[in-house]
Amino acid sequence: MADEWKPQILGIICNWCSYAGADLAGSARTQYPPDIRIVRIMCTGRVDPLFILKAFSDGADGVLVSGCHFGDCHYLEGNYKGAKRMFMVKSLIRNIGLEDKRLRMTFVSASEGAKWAKVVEDVVKTVTDLGPSPLKELAR
């Protein structure tokens, strides 16, 4: 158990929807795996591709970006702009030889606590199946 490999996953999530959804999962005591660490931002539009690249170059095994549903962004359209960038980042990380499945963007609203738990479960599973990031060695 102790030396079983656990993935390091960074979650960058927006304050209004996904963070609130994650809080709701908490109040509802919905259980999910603990292998994710959260950085809260106001909007997924704030997600600079740099943050994701930095996380991978630091050795993250996976990155989850999660925001509001389209049309539901607290700032009208920040999530569209954030989502558009994710395509670019996905192709970038593919180019450096990293599986693009290590980066995921999801849309979880403030009322979707159960969905948040499901998303984390999925992401943890996907990343666990992929195994440790090949960049991890470089980061050390």
Partner: protein, 703 residues
């Protein structure tokens, strides 16, 4: 690709990025000097929250770990950090240990960030030098049976928070004046009550209603439980008050087109739909003295077009020029341009009043308000989707709102309770409760619609009142008679002879000759199947958010819950607020409520919406974008990305740089997420701060 390169060169080296950013930020925002990492002294306060956190996380281990972290000068734990003594620990530690920043590891910042910012301020620090580590909602509560995993996660969360706290800077919230006016959207009983309260509190209030008259669903009801007052009798005086109130500007047949701005300063554009009829005031303004619609109704009989009247649930005709019912407020006719054939007969008969203008166009009107209340109400769930009950297939299956009109003295039958197929008085009537509510089949709604039990009891009573010898049958799952005097009302209906059958109805079939209905159900109390022939069935259909709710809530930036009802800021502690400051919700649009609860919620929303207006100014969170001019190449990409037109390119020292209008910036950071040169400093969510968090998670660690 070239842009990418620049970024990669400058930004990943965190320390350099911080240093480079620091002087620039000073230049851009002199009140917000960036902190160097060297002097940072962070205090960490870990909350047990009773056993909420301590039950699943090893607090001592976490505290011991926090003490080993770089930049941590002090760490402590306490039972309830949010309590008065808990907050004092923070304030004292700031002074005693000369802290530059604080981290509280406890619940969600969405709950207690304001509390701990105040405590931080009390200790003499700028409140924005506080960062929260969420180890409850996103820690102990979701990993209850994984103490080790939850404890490790808590340690990391604190490490990440400390890394940010070490780089936080002083920020000053911006105070903005609040426009002394409010808008209320939706003029059902909720919107009317909210508008009256605001107006009586001295606030100019725009009351917006999409249909031609105010009153909402309540004006369609006959009587109201449990007191059985006549709905119109208690509502009409209120409608008249609304029409007369000096501070209320009533705008019917009007919809919200767009909303800009923020608390204190919303610019709302309204679409006043072409009504084809001028009010007396409008006519006066156009120089038609003594003209305009006085509600005489001469136009109606001459109109050759006949359409169903939606107010009467399409059971009564109206003309292409119409009022819904005689008590409408305002008493003003409306032309239905979709069916008007422009024969001009109405114009002729209206004569010198010149009230009718068949060439009228929609008009856009702008209003400025400080706060807004959404009171959008509900629609009936299309119960024909529950195919097995035969609504829309069998004539004598009606929904509950149709029943209200059928039994109402001002309704299509003049209050004579008859069944649709043959106009005969029904002798046996079945009421199906939870029709589409508490339905987990995926077709109906999973929630309880909350007023159907009570109005079905009321309906049973009403037929006993009107039809001698009638028998009523109520098919129910549970009778929820939870309000004041409601249980007593339930007993009364039982005494009146209503039969209660506990069980869901499997299906309803029609006898093709008699048009009677055969109900197949299960009586779960007697444990046997029931087959019952009745003359008429009333489906107590579920309710759902009104048709335009989704579009309207998005204009105001209000979220919704899974079933589409508007989401309150906190279900218990802030039931009328939303996550958009200055926008409140009232009535059923937040979730099903009967009239007493609707009115209470409307008064709550009105009170909440009046507070910023009476305060006169409000503070905005200072999460503004700032331009680091040295780095700005003047490309202008951010200008196009900003959803609020808060950014512009200006000439400075012979070159173009971006400039932020703080009052327009809402702090989303979309500009900062894209700037190829890293030239945008998002206050409180600055790139070096976020990168420090990422590094702390993945590389970070022990001193």
């Amino acid at each position: 690709m070239a842009e990418k390169k620049t970024k990669k060169e400058t930004a990943p080296k965190k320390k350099e990025a911080t240093k480079a950013a620091a002087p620039a930020v000073k230049a851009a925002a002199p009140k917000a000097p960036a902190t160097g990492k060297k002097e940072a002294r962070v205090g960490v306060f870990i909350c047990h929250c009773g056993t909420n956190i301590a039950g699943s996380i090893d607090i001592n281990e976490v505290e011991a770990y926090a003490k080993t972290l770089p930049d941590v000068a002090f760490a402590a734990n306490y039972q309830y950090v949010c309590s008065t003594p808990g907050q004092k620990i923070i304030a004292d530690a700031i002074k005693d240990h000369n802290l530059t920043g604080t981290v509280v590891a406890a619940c969600s910042p969405r709950l207690h960030e304001p509390t701990f910012r105040t405590a931080t301020k009390e200790g003499g620090l700028n409140p924005f030098r506080f960062e929260m580590a969420n180890i409850r909602e996103q820690g102990s509560w979701v990993h209850m049976h994984d103490r080790e995993g939850a404890t490790e996660k808590a340690k990391d969360a604190i490490r990440i928070a400390v890394a940010k706290a070490a780089l936080l800077e002083d920020l000053i919230p911006k105070s903005v004046p609040v426009e002394k006016a409010a808008i209320v959207v939706g003029a059902g009983v909720a919107g009317m009550q909210a508008a009256l309260d605001l107006a009586n509190a001295g606030i100019k209030t725009y009351l917006i209603e999409k249909t031609p008259s105010i009153g909402g669903r309540m004006s369609q009801l006959d009587k109201t439980f449990p007191t059985l007052d006549c709905s119109q009798c208690i509502l009409t005086p209120k409608m008249v008050d609304v029409g007369r109130a000096e501070n209320i500007e009533l705008m019917t047949y009007t919809e919200v087109e767009s909303v800009e701005g923020y608390i204190g300063n919303f610019d709302v554009t309204l679409r006043k739909k072409a009504r084809g009829v001028l009010s007396m005031a409008e006519a006066e303004a156009m120089g038609i003295s003594g003209g305009g619609c006085n509600g005489c109704g001469d136009c109606e009989p001459v109109c050759p077009v006949i359409k169903p009247n939606p107010f009467e649930m399409n059971m009564k005709p109206r003309k292409a020029i119409y009022i819904y019912h005689p008590q409408v407020v305002p008493l003003l006719y409306t032309v239905d341009f979709d069916s008007c054939i422009k024969c001009n007969l109405c114009v002729d008969v209206c004569g010198d009043k010149k009230a009718i203008d068949l060439e009228m166009k929609d008009e856009l009107i702008k209003v400025k308000v400080g706060t807004a209340i959404l009171a959008l109400g509900y629609d009936m769930f299309p119960i024909e989707k529950k195919d097995e009950w035969g609504y829309m297939k069998y004539e004598n299956v009606v929904n509950s709102l149709e029943f209200e009109r059928l039994i109402c003295a001002s309704g299509p039958t003049g209050g004579h309770m008859v069944r649709p197929s043959d106009g005969q008085t029904p002798k046996k009537v079945a009421f199906l409760l939870c029709a589409g509510s508490r339905d987990n089949t995926g077709i109906g709604k999973p929630y309880c619609s909350r007023f159907c039990c009570m109005y079905s009891l009321k309906h049973a009573h009403q037929i006993y009142e009107k039809i001698p010898g009638v028998q009523s049958y109520l098919f129910y799952m549970d009778i929820r008679s939870f309000g004041k005097m409601y249980e007593e009302f339930y007993y009364r209906i039982q005494d009146e002879g209503a039969k209660f059958i506990r069980g869901r109805v499997a299906n309803i079939l029609e006898d093709p000759v008699t048009k009677n209905l055969i109900i197949n159900a299960e009586d779960t109390l007697l444990n046997r199947p029931v087959r019952l022939e009745v003359d008429m069935v009333v489906l107590a259909a579920a309710v759902q958010p009104s048709s335009d709710t989704d579009r309207t809530r998005k204009l105001f930036g209000v979220s919704c819950s899974l079933d589409g009802w508007l989401l309150e800021a906190h279900p218990k502690l802030n039931p009328c607020g939303t996550t958009t400051a200055g926008v409140y919700v009232a009535g059923v649009c937040q979730g099903p409520k009967d009239i007493p609860d609707t009115v209470a919620s409307a008064e709550g929303a009105a009170s909440a919406a009046s507070i910023p207006i009476h305060m006169g100014e409000v503070e905005l969170e200072p999460y503004f974008a700032q331009c680091i001019e040295e780095k700005c190449a003047g490309c202008g990409m951010c200008v196009n990305l900003c959803p609020y037109q808060a950014l512009a390119l200006v000439e400075k020292e012979g070159r173009k740089v971006m400039e932020v209008t703080e009052a327009k910036c809402k702090g989303c950071g979309t500009c900062g997420g894209f700037c190829p040169g890293g030239a945008i400093w998002m206050q409180h969510f600055a790139t070096p701060q976020i990168v420090a968090q990422i590094d702390a998670f993945l590389l970070g660690g022990v001193k």
